[in-house]
Symmetry: C2
Subunit: 340 residues, 2 copies
DNA sequence: GATGTATTTGCAAACGTTTGCATTTTTGTT
DNA sequence: AACAAAAATGCAAACGTTTGCAAATACATC
């Protein structure tokens, strides 16, 4: 590893006896250069372990081919960063971005304070931003959008916004979940999650709608606000039962992790699932079917979603306008609920 | 967002009526510049939403302040990318790297083919590489190490290698796990995992040692090779019981996810845990205590490990030699095993 | 062989920072 | 007031690519 005399484009050009422009074009597969020349130069580059200096080419082309992905965490608990669903999204985004010739710069809202557009875009660290999660306030997002930086957000696509939001049809998800429980015979269905949060709010709407349709007026006591972690869900459900007994026979959980917490709280009290209480989750994380009983859930297709997010971002990078997209959800019936 | 006349260092300098060198130094907090000047220039930059072009400064300084983190996936299943433990490590690394002024470029072995050192380091995409997981063959890693690129690997620190490996005391972990089961009265303990894999092999060694100490010769039939996913574990355990009956009364699983799969297979057959079979996992992922029963496990401290990995990497970036580090593990007793 | 047109290459100027060195300004000493 | 030393600033040359334009070469046509 001779550090001091790292091979450069100019060096390679001298080696080949051509100009740097020719080598540059050859390595970028520019058809201006004769095919044979191109190939022999590419071979030469390979032999000599040459690789283009990206700092230089980024400076020259004013393009980084990097996308910043920001995990927009709501609370301060490190916990939430380990939500398998969000991390799955990161993994899938990485895949899709790579396929499109982009790399993924990972960040999270705890670390990156201040102006995201400035920090990532003006500074030439990245060409665009994908934010996972709308968070509670959208001020930061609005600022980014206003700056004109290419931006796509995973969140509630129905929310009023001046940027492109990709997200599930949460209302439908909440509706399907609730209806499924109703069909299984549940009468008093608990909504476990925070309706203040945009996406969860939509799910709550669907939940309420299904109840109304079934002529079961929604009851405020049947909504139990709760963070999106299993630990909190476990505690909240335990607490609720302690205070009020088993006042429900079904649970619509706002994520699989929340469902897992509820599951445990119930099982510890020897409450039978699904006979005494039916539980349905949201997300369909990989381990959902490994819970005991296997978890019925509303599936969000992260792979497809990632593809759509990247598409919408690429559009903006090409100067076109992007739009919010609503993704389909799907009821996955397993063992934690009764079938009708 | 006036795109065509983006503010540059020269522009800012003109605005302030000083030279670019002064502004550059001021923004980098160089004490060569008078304190007041520095502060007023920093304020001016803030007012004008100026931020340094990193492509340019990286080119000039030959330093990126970026670290590439590569998830070294063993198999082709997308599954393994969603192992909560590995993703937790990524999250923790992100945190530590940020605290040290570095950013995290995420990658995985499926996407980045060929020469990692060339791709990331010579190309000036990153200053160093952290690889999570040694994989089955270490050819690629050896190549990176030989190239002289700053490199730290999460894996088996006892493995022979010409690069710095940070990892748990897996042998001790396997030993503690097995001993704990023995103390709980288990006589025929199953090792669930692939001893061919470096880290798992160490755990298997510890397992064998504990058995020997207890005068229970190790039995080859009691080692059940198995991928590191819960689904495979679930299938393998189910299969084994189907073929040979319940020939074990304890399981040492090589990860919590594997334990989860085993757990389910057993529960489906109404085998009582921990009375009929004790199960102990590895990792202590966030949801381990939410399994039912709460999972006894060997904890790996990812936060501390991330800190150590970054330390070892920074050493190399400063021209010092790095060393392999063995991290402590800890037995976390919960409900899936009997206490002595 | 002359001419015109395609094809292939090279020249040289950017891109926006940082930094060694020279220069200017300030401060302190006699 | 003169001078030296210290502190603060500026000049200009890099860093390694890409690319518009000009130049050179190859090929075809008469």
């Amino acid at each position: 590893m001779s550090n001091e005399n790292k091979l450069t484009l100019a060096g390679l050009a001298k080696l080949a006896g051509v100009s740097t422009s020719t080598v540059s074009r050859a390595l970028n597969d520019n058809p201006l250069i004769k095919k044979e020349t191109r190939e022999s130069l590419q071979a030469l580059a390979r032999e000599n372990n040459f690789s283009l200096n990206r700092a230089a080419s980024r400076l020259r082309t004013q393009k980084t081919n990097v996308i910043a992905v920001i995990l927009n965490l709501i609370d301060d608990t490190d916990q939430s960063i380990s939500d398998p669903f969000l991390l799955k999204v990161v993994g899938d985004l990485n895949q899709v971005l790579n396929q499109n010739g982009y790399e993924l710069l990972l960040s999270n809202s705890h670390m990156t304070h201040g102006d995201w557009a400035n920090y990532f875009i003006s500074s030439s660290r990245a060409d665009g931003i994908i934010v996972i999660g709308q968070g509670k306030d959208t001020i930061e997002l609005d600022k980014v959008a206003k700056s004109g930086a290419p931006l796509v957000v995973w969140g509630d696509p129905n929310a009023e916004s001046n940027y492109a939001v990709v997200g599930s049809n949460n209302d439908l998800g909440g509706y399907l979940a609730t209806k499924h429980l109703l069909e299984g015979g549940c009468k008093r269905i608990l909504f476990l999650g925070d309706p203040e949060h945009a996406e969860m709010g939509e799910r709550h709407k669907g939940y309420t709608r299904a109840l109304k349709e079934a002529k079961l007026g929604s009851n405020k006591d049947l909504t139990l606000p709760c963070d999106i972690t299993s630990k909190v869900a476990y505690e909240k459900v335990g607490e609720a039962i302690l205070n009020k007994g088993l006042f429900f026979d079904g649970i619509v959980a706002t994520s699989d992790m929340v469902a897992l917490g509820a599951l445990k709280a119930l099982k510890e009290r020897y409450i039978n699932i699904p006979n005494d209480v039916g539980i349905i989750g949201f997300d369909d994380i990989a381990m959902a079917e490994l819970f005991h009983p296997a978890l019925t859930t509303i599936k969000q297709d992260t792979k497809l979603a990632s593809k759509v997010m990247v598409e919408q971002l690429l559009k903006q990078l090409n100067g076109q306008a992007a739009e919010s997209v609503v993704m389909d959800v799907e009821l996955i019936k397993r063992k934690s609920t009764l079938s009708n």
